[in-house]
């Protein structure tokens, strides 16, 4: 088999059973792998009666046909599960090297079901699979766990694991791999923790077969030239990392501060990508095989580590009113070690800060209080004191005090770092994302509304935005299933991806087919959420963004005009006014056998 390895590994932790299955090639051709395959398995195997932390929930770790090939940015894999934070389908993807090491074991996906009685870790060395006692690792942080496993299992392995947050079923916990790479969102670390699964250690030596090596060589050469020539992937990202966005987003008046109370942060420059480069950067880094190198190795007075990335920098910084780059950086290191989603952690802390400020509950947390940041992060991961409540995420936490309007989330997932009141299309994107408040699942409309990529459109206009969101969503879903990095899409488009997929798999992919695969995946995820009881009323935004006009700056006076964009979006998708895909659309996508709503 070419591109795909041809096998899936299924491990049931209740029975401690290991089973290999051949892949159903028709399914993989239709969904590619990664996020698409994950959505298909979740839809087929996890129904609405399954609680996300129940042993019947599953974790689908999946690579795609391009993972581990010479295609640009192909060092990625994804995980899919039902989220304990949102109750929706949840996929997350990560770089580093774990995905490639795993695929080289000879598998396209690992499906973990059941629950072990005591802590275990899984080892996969080519087709030698083990389930081992992890009692001695329980309670250790991500870095300690990784170091201990590399010591006992051998240096050539790659380790994916949870930290204390996942063990303690924190609903904003992440799964980490290769120490500082994160499958971050939706509390997926807690799903791994609920199964008493501490880590998955992999080392593979098998070859990924390429259908047409000559063609692959040629298309890779061409694609890499484009990546190396594009100003974003050749200059902006490698030179300044993702935090290069801080200043432009702040200048545009959509850089949220203090739990979205403000839309600009007066100290943005202090935490910008430029400042990171000047003050704490020690080395540029990147995922397996990547030629962009956007990751940052950094050093503070006290510690060394990775990051912060743009979102983490904002969530733990501006959103909490904190402007000390060293403090933010160390808080980010700590989240990585404890296995916490930095966006949701920052978004939940900022919510607690606002509740304190509003006099709703004395959380003892104040905007700008940098001395308490690391302490509260520890408390969240270990569920101590107020941290036990914050571990539930901002929606559940604020709801306890009748103050849900101060939780800046969609479907329970904390929002990222763009205030959509000054970028209408991004507001739509947050509302329609299948995994909740996210800039990468409902479309990265900021790309065209603010960054002018591929072209600049009027960010304040709401009419006509649905098409941009749909295109970004569908291409994104395909990208997440190949699995490659979203950053490659600045330089490459579906024409290049179709040729790479054709060269790797030997199947003939057309550009519009690649987009069509993405559309199929987005629709299947929507069907999953509908079956879970989600509907139009959850495709919404926090009250603040819909009703509270921006107070100052370039976006002053604006709110998100959501309902008109939502109508347009459903129409564009071929869905009814409640956001239910119509029969015609499902037939067109080959989803006709699936339950409608």
């Amino acid at each position: 088999m070419n591109g795909w390895m041809g096998k899936i590994l299924r491990i049931n932790l209740t029975e401690k059973s290991v089973r290999e299955e051949s892949i159903d090639l028709d399914v993989w051709k239709k969904y590619l792998g990664g996020r698409g395959y994950g959505a298909k398995v979740l839809y087929d195997e996890v129904d609405s009666t399954v609680d996300p932390l129940d042993s019947r929930n599953i974790l689908v770790f999946a690579t795609g046909p391009l993972t581990g090939t010479t295609a640009a940015t192909s060092g990625r894999y994804s995980v899919t599960t039902k989220s304990p934070l949102t109750g929706t389908v949840m996929d997350a993807n990560s770089g580093g090297k774990w995905g490639v090491w795993f695929k080289k074991c000879g598998y396209d996906a690992l499906v973990v079901t059941g629950k072990s009685q005591s802590p275990v870790y899984i080892t996969i060395y080519d087709d030698q699979v083990g389930i081992k006692n992890a009692t001695h690792l329980w309670g250790k942080d991500v870095h300690q766990t990784t170091d201990m496993l590399m010591e006992t299992e051998g240096k050539g392995v790659s380790v994916m694991c949870i930290g204390s947050a996942g063990e303690n079923l924190v609903l904003i916990s992440a799964i980490m791999n290769d120490k500082d790479r994160a499958l971050a969102r939706g509390g997926i670390g807690a799903v791994m923790g609920s199964k008493n699964l501490k880590a998955v250690v992999v080392r593979g030596t098998k070859k990924i077969e390429i259908a047409d090596p000559e063609r692959m060589k040629f298309v890779t050469y061409e694609a890499n030239k484009l990546v190396r020539a594009h100003p974003i992937t050749s200059k902006g990202l490698p030179e300044f990392g993702t935090s290069v966005l801080v200043n432009i987003i702040n200048e545009a008046g959509i850089f949220p501060a203090r739990n979205y109370q403000n839309s600009q942060f007066e100290a943005a420059e202090k935490i910008s990508g430029e400042s990171i480069t000047d003050q704490i950067l020690t080395k540029k880094a990147g995922c397996w095989g990547c030629i962009i190198q956007c990751a940052r190795k950094t050093k503070t007075v006290n510690e060394e580590g990775e990051g912060p990335e743009y979102e983490s920098n904002w969530a733990l910084g501006a959103n909490c009113g904190i402007d000390d780059l060293e403090v933010i950086t160390e808080a980010n290191y700590l989240c990585n070690k404890l296995g916490l989603d930095t966006i949701s952690t920052g978004g939940t802390i900022s919510c607690a800060m606002e509740l304190n400020e509003q006099g709703i509950i004395n959380t003892g947390l104040k905007f700008g209080d940098k001395n308490k940041l690391k302490e509260i992060i520890q408390q969240i991961a270990h569920r101590e004191g107020i941290g036990d409540e914050l571990a539930l995420g901002s929606k559940r936490f604020s709801a306890r005090y009748g103050a849900e309007e101060y939780s800046m989330q969609v479907k329970g997932l904390e929002l990222p770092a763009y205030d959509p009141r000054g970028a209408q299309g991004q507001g739509l994107a947050y509302a329609i994302s299948n995994r909740g408040g996210c800039h990468l699942r409902g479309g990265y409309v900021i790309g065209t509304e603010i960054l002018g990529s591929p072209r600049m459109i009027d960010r304040f206009v709401s009419v006509g935005k649905a098409g941009y969101a749909v295109r970004s969503m569908d291409l994104g879903a395909a990208i997440d299933s190949m699995v490659v990095c979203r950053f490659s899409t600045y330089a490459l488009n579906e024409y290049v991806w179709a040729r790479l997929l054709t060269a790797v798999t030997g199947e003939s992919y057309e550009p519009e087919e690649v987009i069509g695969i993405g559309e199929r995946i987005v629709n299947l995820e929507r069907l999953y959420n509908l079956r879970e009881g989600f509907s139009r009323k959850e495709d919404t935004l926090p009250k603040r963004l819909l009703e509270e006009p921006v107070k100052t700056g370039p976006a002053r006076g604006r709110t998100v005009k959501l309902q008109e964009m939502l109508d347009e979006y459903y129409q564009f998708r071929g869905w009814d006014e409640n956001g239910v895909p119509g029969e015609k659309k499902l037939n067109q996508l080959g989803l006709e056998g699936n339950i409608n709503g």
Partner: protein, 75 residues
């Protein structure tokens, strides 16, 4: 009349400054300022005046803040 120019990312090294005050003439456009700074319009620069995206033919006013970015992304 006077405007403030703010530069970001790689443009800071290119120009050697983070920001500068500039005296310009009436009816000077963004493109005229770029010429003075030796920046090419062809580089797909992103230009904002007072935080609002403006095109090269935008006529600047006294007190305007012109922010200039190279093509960047992240997220």
């Amino acid at each position: 009349m006077q405007i403030k120019v703010k530069l970001f990312a790689s443009l800071r090294n290119q120009i050697g400054k983070k920001e500068l005050d500039m005296n310009i003439s009436d009816r000077d456009k963004i493109s005229d300022v770029l010429k003075v700074l030796d920046l090419s319009e062809k580089e797909n620069l992103i230009t904002m005046v007072n935080g609002i995206h403006c095109k090269m033919d935008y006529v600047l006013k006294n007190g305007d803040v012109l922010s200039i970015f190279p093509m960047i992304a992240g997220g």
